[in-house]
């Protein structure tokens, strides 16, 4: 593409200004074309200083993910060993679903720098701007009954929460069933989509969206009171490749642990990271609101509430509000 020549030219002269006239002459394009290409590069995350009579200077490049950087930090045997790294896609879930239907192997990971139609639970929009987040979907093919899928939801939350704590140092916790919060604000959403045949899982796609290096101004105004990023909370830039590898390492380890020892150890880890347990919560579910104190997870992964009459109520699904 033409604008890569422009980029090469500016990169070859670090710290120096090159005039629009010179660029126009050297690339044999019009001044308007130069201006258009600079704008295109800005959209991709490159930053320029433009000074009149001096020209353009490259002052910042986007934080692009590279497959080699992720691979170097993987300790997995299968997870993320097949990687599709996309610049932009409508939804990594949809891209992974198509790969699943084509027969892609367990552990295939789809990552996008940007999603134009990212989605969360119940068809809600998931804001996924370029280069600042981790937007990814992992294909899993557990040979298990469908009842495993809810446990996979909780298992994934544990893995992501542990990876976030490790890489960013932030005090992240899990809100039932699978939101990751820091200081009460959401920093990550997880969505497990399953395809089943009769009583068995055909495949699951674990969608993980983490707000990594978003600045406060990158977060839509209406979400600023409820959403945050790892950079905002930790005060430093986070290496996304390191975070992706850490999530995959944790996830494969817990997945194997579940294969060997079942849900019990996962449940203990989930309970230890939970910000829901012990709190008064309200759940909006299919059967109306239920309020109570969150007591524990049961062995299937349901949330056990103690209601105002002192009875235990099991919650299988719904949106939880703390406090």
């Amino acid at each position: 593409m033409e604008h890569n020549k422009l980029l090469e030219m500016l990169k070859a002269a670090p710290g120096e200004y090159i005039s629009g006239e010179e660029i126009s002459r050297r690339l044999s394009i019009s001044r308007t074309a130069v201006w258009k290409q600079i704008n295109k590069l800005r959209e991709e995350g490159y930053e320029f200083e433009a000074v009149s009579r001096k020209g353009y200077r490259l002052v910042g490049s986007p934080d692009k993910l590279e497959e080699a950087a992720i691979g170097a930090m993987l300790q997995t045997s299968g997870f993320a060993r097949k990687l599709r790294l996309l610049d932009v896609t409508s939804s990594t879930q949809e891209a992974a679903r198509l790969l699943a239907e084509e027969g892609a192997a367990e552990g295939t990971l789809v990552i996008a720098e940007e999603q134009t139609g990212g989605r969360g639970r119940q068809g809600r929009m998931w804001f996924s701007p370029p280069h600042k987040g981790v937007w990814m979907s992992l294909l899993l093919r557990p040979r298990r009954p469908l009842a495993f899928a809810p446990q996979l939801t909780l298992l994934t939350a544990v893995a992501v929460c542990r990876a976030i704590r490790k890489v960013s140092g932030a005090d992240a916790g899990i809100k039932w069933p699978n939101d990751i919060l820091i200081g009460g604000k959401k920093v990550c959403g997880i969505l497990i989509e399953s395809a089943g045949e009769d009583e068995m899982i055909k495949y699951c796609i674990a969608g993980i969206g983490i707000d990594v290096n978003l600045e406060p101004e990158d977060i839509p105004a209406e979400l600023r009171s409820v959403a945050t990023s790892l950079k905002i909370e930790s005060g430093r830039h986070i290496d996304r490749a390191e975070l992706i590898a850490a999530v995959m390492n944790e996830l494969e380890q817990l997945y194997k642990l579940h294969e060997e020892e079942g849900f019990a150890p996962i449940r203990l880890l989930w309970e230890a990271l939970s910000v829901t347990l012990g709190r008064r919560v309200t759940v909006w579910g299919g059967r109306g609101d239920i309020s109570g104190v969150a007591k524990s997870l049961d062995e299937s992964g349901a949330l056990v509430l103690q209601d105002e009459h002192g009875s235990d109520v099991k919650i299988f699904s719904g949106d939880v509000q703390l406090g």
Copy 2:
């Protein structure tokens, strides 16, 4: 289409021969074109007698499904009230899945006269010739946890088995989990495909394939020892529209029963129709073969076997061989 004029002409002269020459003249087409159209109609299931110097006579029309005939016998409030009746499709499961993704309502039913790529469990081919079977897929949107899907498999088997018994009089039974047998031979296969989001079902598609009016010679030779049809077993032609309506009536009734009273009454009905319980069976599953005597269904829908050591083993999935 041109060949409908030919059909109208032959239908307008019941029992009479019309010469190829006369057809050619009245439709202003060549004799070769007449012959091609006759062949096309034969492929669609029409039967002709052709006698030299006399011409063609219509002696049989295909048994085509009509929406009005099915609708007249429905006693449902929602099931099959939205109907897509297709002449031919690759797979009604796939057609129903696309409708589900587009937001089609619960109870939407896709029926095809013929499937070119019909499939059963584990991607196996399902032979689906035109006009002689019931090849259909029902869209369901239960607001339930994923663990409901295996129960839906058993519920569907009960509904189909009851409808077959009612309409054909044949002594049909259920082989775990969801094959319908008559005299030890398979007459119907059921496949429930589910899409889940986190712990909840997004939708299920209940695929039902019944060999209705197939003659022995319609069944592929390699399947004749294990497959049969309602016509072969009952000795008479079965009205497919009546059978479709009966399946929908039974299915909606049981689905509502499950909503009100849970799995317990479905389980009793399943056990009463089972040809598996009390028999020595071998199950090929993910963890190797298991042999034992089939004792019962558990409350989740798993098959309980008593193995040779007298221990109970729960089977969640697999292929069962009786005896």
